[in-house]
């Protein structure tokens, strides 16, 4: 484990060096004067908030974009990549989360992809791939179509492809985002194995603990500038956060206050709800004035149950169970009915279905109001639009400078706040947050948590679905754990710990 760190201490020449690298998009620096280097056999983590320039830097290294100015050196010699293929030939390979594989092709075909000879025998291909996969200790059948592989195995195929392409530098972009804890442990072994082979690794992750654990050195970027590059041993989570944000983050919101809420009316009851294979016999209830956290891994049915309640998905017609809203059984065909009954769902994937990207902040918020039965008016009113938007911009502290910009141009945190505003403007009494802080910058997370608390204090029933345990622990009054479509455990906020929750969520 320590050999990589030794190498990084300057015994060898850096394999890759960027001196004063800048990239300008439309007059704005995405990265500015970044000095970055990478030694052979080193794991170098890149951290920073969204928009800090991590992706831009990596894209420049992988040849997907060119630097506006600055020097790019490979093995001490200046290099200039015209296209990603050049970087690949130079041994630089980027491993995306799971996007760059062709799902209908087999693992072996995917490994070979881009290097096919005119004629290839399936048998030869499979044997070659088998040998490669075995040498890496990957248990993947080369003849299986990639679509049938799990996330972890897809990632293995990606890595195998990188090795097949003789990669010396591998860039991992959020590699652990959708892995289970065991898979992450295995993945870390793999990274260490690659490092032992002399492969240099750039590791982008939002998980600071992971970066501290796996990396030899960590570079922090903020607003396109390099803040610090230091050995991981000299850094802690708190110091990293401080460097990322440039100030002390208000930790107060994270520490739970004393139990202030009082259970009131039972608002929502879910009884034995079943939907296909995703949700099986799920039961729980939600009370007004409390925050219920639902923890669970991806695929545990937590998003699906939220969508079933909201009417975006339909539960089974026969033996589908019952959902009661204040004692009255409900079954929604479309989300509109749920909204009119005061139920809100805030999506986990805002880019796919959270906001209207061609419209400005005000229009997004106003549309949320217009879409409700009570808020509908045939004619638009500028005054009403401005009033609604002003209130929510103020309340959620949405960056007011960007009011005139289309929402797609805002930062992740501001986008999420607009999605919140667009939903909360509908006056819901039950609010389901699905991954409320995914892709949200560290500085904004406390705002969102404070809003969740405030809603519960106003007497609304709040459900927070999250795979980020510190978040669940921080905001919830009561924690439910979902596993394979069921609720398997329930904790009071006072007695819950990460270990207890994980134990229930995994096995």
């Amino acid at each position: 484990m320590s050999d990589g760190a030794n190498l990084a201490n300057g015994a060898a020449e850096p394999v890759l060096e960027i001196i004063g690298g800048s990239k300008i998009y439309g007059g704005v620096h995405a990265i500015e004067g970044v000095n970055f280097n990478l030694y052979p056999g080193e794991v170098h983590a890149l951290v920073g908030e969204n928009g800090a320039g991590k992706s831009t830097l990596c894209k420049a290294i992988a040849g997907a974009i060119g630097l506006t100015s600055g020097e790019f050196r490979l093995d001490g010699k200046p290099a200039n990549f015209e296209q990603p293929r050049d970087a690949l030939n130079a041994g630089i390979c980027m491993v995306y989360q799971e996007t760059s594989l062709v799902p209908t092709m087999t693992a072996a075909q995917n490994i070979e992809l881009g290097n096919e000879k005119l004629l290839t025998r399936f048998r030869t291909l499979n044997i070659q791939a088998q040998q490669l996969l075995q040498s890496l200790n990957f248990h993947v059948d080369p003849a299986t179509p990639v679509a049938m592989l799990g996330t972890a195995k897809k990632q293995m195929v990606e890595i195998a492809r990188a090795i097949y392409n003789k990669a010396r530098i591998i860039i991992f972009d959020e590699p652990t985002a959708s892995l289970t804890p065991e898979e992450i442990v295995h993945f870390f072994h793999l990274v260490r194995d690659l490092r032992a082979r002399g492969v240099s690794i750039i590791y982008i992750s939002h998980a600071l603990e992971e970066s501290l654990q796996i990396a030899d050195r960590i570079t922090v970027l903020r607003d396109g500038r390099l803040v610090i590059t230091a050995p991981a041993k000299q850094l802690t989570r708190d110091s990293l956060v401080q460097h990322m944000v440039g100030r002390e983050v208000a930790q107060a919101v994270y520490g739970r206050k004393e139990k202030t809420h009082q259970r009131r009316e039972k608002v929502l009851t879910v009884e034995n709800v079943t939907m296909g294979m995703a949700v099986k016999n799920m039961s729980f209830s939600v009370y007004a004035g409390e925050v219920v956290g639902i923890a669970g891994l991806i695929g545990s049915g937590r998003t699906e149950i939220a969508k079933v309640i909201y009417g975006a998905l339909k539960r089974n017609l026969i033996n589908g169970g019952t959902i009661r809203l204040r004692g009255k059984p409900i079954r929604y065909r479309v989300p509109r009915q749920a909204i009119n009954d005061g139920i809100a769902y805030i999506t986990e994937d805002r880019k796919a279905n959270g906001f209207f990207e061609t419209m400005v902040v005000d229009d997004n918020v106003y549309l949320g109001k217009l879409a409700t039965k009570k808020g509908f008016s045939f004619l638009l009113s500028r005054a009403r639009r401005g009033k609604l938007a002003n209130y929510w911009v103020e309340r959620l502290k949405i960056s007011a400078l960007q009011r005139k910009a289309r929402i797609i141009e805002l930062s992740g945190g501001n986008q999420q706040k607009v999605v919140l505003a667009k939903t909360l403007v509908q006056d819901p009494s039950i609010i389901i947050f699905d991954e409320p802080t995914r892709g949200v910058d560290v500085g904004t997370i406390p705002h969102i948590h404070a809003e969740i608390r405030r809603l519960a204090d106003e007497g609304k029933a709040v459900v927070v679905i999250s795979s980020y345990l510190p978040e669940v622990l921080a905001v919830s009054d009561r924690i439910l754990v979902a596993r394979t479509g069921r609720i398997v455990a329930e904790f009071d906020a006072a007695e819950a710990t990460q270990d207890k929750i994980l134990y229930a969520a995994v096995h």
Binding site: Y25, G26, G27, V28, N50, G51, K54, S55, T56, K59, A64, I65, E82, P84, Q97, E174, T176, A177, P181, I184, V185, H206, A207, E209, E210, Y310, A312, P335, R336, Y345, T347, D349, K351, A352, N353, G354, F355, F356, E357, M359, D363, Y366, L367, L370, F376, F378, L379, L380, A405, R406, E409, L410, S411, G412, E435, G439, S467, Y468, L469, Q498
Partner: protein, 341 residues
């Protein structure tokens, strides 16, 4: 060791948020408008008889039918749909209406019959798209053929003439109000009404929202299915209105237009003006500008006596130029440019 799961998972890497919005950059509508003005000036100086009031009125009048159809097509394209049965609706409903007039139905009743048929087609198209969830391209392509076949079966003639004793009907095509030909007025009023509808009413906003992101629209609580039925009904209504002008102008309805390139002309004016086929972008102004450009070209061709094959070539080139212009104005980011798609 800390639990590795205690980590923030982020699915969307942020790459775009720092590009400022550049208001000085002209959009496609403004560029097309500029080209049109330049063409008008050039033709005005070079072509004999182009820059006369009567010719310019003629020009506007010639584009009014295309314009009314284009307003409908624009609406549906903004909502991320398309209606290829629009011209067939126009021809079909009026062919049946006119044949009933010949068979003795009162003119007013037959006009309303045509409207009812058009609206029925619109509702059926809408239901197929909204409730059966079939792709609009195929639904309306198939609907166009069915309408053509049914209309030909009910009104078996290539050209169905309007009865001679229906001056009210002819007013829509040949009449003048305040000295302005009625077709131009029909186009102008429709365009203003459509503009107000799209930009000043919440339904209009819903249509843009649907074109922008249908799933987000659904989750926001916008009643998508009724909205889609309404959209296709509006297109059918505009097809009926364009048909009224057509019948008034020519005194007849030709079924042959369903087999011609007219539907592509309609798509052409919409796309040239900057209504993007991916939905949610563009406005009524786009349709008007696209129409005027095409009308100017066609009018100049007529004066110059250019034959129809050459006209088709030029129309095709103009469409391609519009697409190239669109790409030039909205360059794809460096990444896709380097990697290809």
């Amino acid at each position: 060791m800390r639990w590795p799961l205690a980590s923030r998972s982020v699915a969307v890497p942020a790459t775009t948020p720092r590009i400022p919005f550049n208001i000085a950059k002209p959009n496609q509508e403004q560029i097309v408008l500029l080209i049109t003005i330049v063409l008008l000036i050039v033709f005005g100086f070079t072509l004999n008889g182009f820059a006369t009031i009567s010719n310019l009125l003629n020009l506007l009048r010639s584009i009014s039918i295309l314009g009314v159809l284009g307003l409908g097509m624009g609406l549906i394209v903004i909502s991320r749909g398309i209606d290829l049965s629009e011209v067939a609706t126009l021809a079909g409903c009026w062919a049946i209406g006119l044949i009933e007039m010949q068979r003795g139905m009162p003119v007013g009743a037959a006009v309303l019959l045509a409207l009812a048929i058009a609206l029925l087609i619109g509702v059926i198209n809408g239901v197929m798209v909204a409730f059966v969830e079939a792709p609009p391209l195929f639904v309306t392509l198939a609907a166009g053929f069915v309408i053509y076949g049914l209309a030909f079966w009910l009104a078996p003639a290539w050209v169905v003439y309007a009865p001679r004793d229906a001056p009210g009907l002819m007013f829509a095509g040949a009449g003048r109000l305040f000295g302005i030909p009625v077709p131009i007025l029909v186009f102008a009023v429709s365009a203003i009404a459509m503009h107000l509808f799209l930009s000043r009413t919440s339904i209009g906003r819903f249509i843009y929202a649907q074109g922008d992101n249908p799933e987000a629209a659904r989750l926001t609580g916008i009643p998508l299915r009724p909205l889609i039925v309404l959209e296709y009904s509006l297109v059918a209504f505009l097809a009926w209105l364009a048909g009224l002008v057509w019948v008034g102008t020519t005194g007849s309805m030709q079924m042959a237009i369903t087999q011609g390139t007219m539907i592509f002309d309609v798509v052409l004016v919409v796309v040239i003006g900057g209504i993007s086929l991916i939905g949610g972008r563009g406005s009524v102004f786009s349709v008007v500008v696209g129409c005027i450009l095409i009308g100017t070209l066609l009018n100049a061709f007529t004066i110059m006596d250019v034959n129809s094959e050459v006209q088709n070539i030029i129309k095709g080139v103009v469409l391609l130029a519009a697409i190239v212009l669109d790409n030039f104005l909205h360059p794809r980011d460096e990444e896709t440019a380097r990697q290809g798609d």
